[in-house]
């Protein structure tokens, strides 16, 4: 399941959906949250812009890549857009599999790709009320190296 939405999401609901299949032995979830401090700035709010026609398509392609690499029973990706507050949930990636190795790898792979290929952009507001676009982190680009893709 892939969703791009302004609404919040519920960890229990998403987890329960992922553990439904009777052959599921492992569920790995990742949740990204709005931190109070980012790149040295005290944050008060966050706005997520996206490229609406492309986001679901990009996420679908990333999930398909994960499915072709690992044996997965179910996957969920939810990414929020719009105005978010401190400590709000931003993104959820959940993977169900027979074995934990596949679930861990696929969940991290999806996040690493999402971070570099899915068209979302963060704009932060700091404690002084100043808004600015968040810089891409070089480490996000480097994180891709472990998956051996061009």
């Amino acid at each position: 399941m892939i969703k791009v939405q302004t609404e919040n999401f519920n960890q229990q609901v998403e987890y329960d959906r992922l553990r439904e299949a009777s052959n599921t032995g492992a569920v790995v979830t990742f949740t990204g949250l709005v931190r109070d401090i980012n790149q040295g700035e005290q944050i008060t709010a966050l706005t997520l812009e996206h490229y609406p026609a492309m986001t679901e398509k990009a996420l679908t392609e990333i999930v398909e890549q994960a499915k072709s690499r690992w044996s997965l029973i179910d996957t969920t990706v939810i990414h929020r857009v719009g105005e978010l507050q401190l400590l709000d949930q931003i993104v959820f990636v959940g993977v169900a599999s027979l074995h934990r190795g596949d679930a861990f790898a696929a969940c991290e792979f999806i996040m690493d790709y999402l971070k570099t290929e899915a068209p979302f952009w963060k704009k932060e507001t700091n404690a002084d009320g100043k808004s600015y676009w968040v810089d891409a982190r070089e480490t996000d680009q480097l994180a891709l190296n472990k998956w051996n893709v061009e």
Partner: protein, 82 residues
């Protein structure tokens, strides 16, 4: 016609979110970029960044991608979601 979109800080800096170009004069992404730089004062630097990303028809692509009428080309800075 080719629809061109800009997102995030690139859109803010260019001051434009969307424009339409003739497909005959823009056979690929590289030429389209050169045309945009030539026709708009101040765009050269913003559209020459090595980190500039491009998507053709909502799929990450590159400057060599050929274009035909009806295509949607989007330019944007490195993504920062997640």
């Amino acid at each position: 016609m080719i629809k061109v979109l800009f997102f995030a800080q690139l859109r803010d800096q260019l001051g434009v979110s969307e424009l339409t170009l003739n497909s005959d004069q823009n056979p690929n992404v590289q030429v389209l970029l050169e045309n945009l730089k030539a026709q708009n004062t101040g765009w050269d630097k913003l559209l020459s960044k090595g980190t500039l990303m491009v998507a053709v028809n909502q799929t990450i692509s590159n400057k060599n991608a050929t274009l035909v009428s009806g295509d949607e080309v989007a330019f944007f800075p490195p993504v920062t979601g997640g």
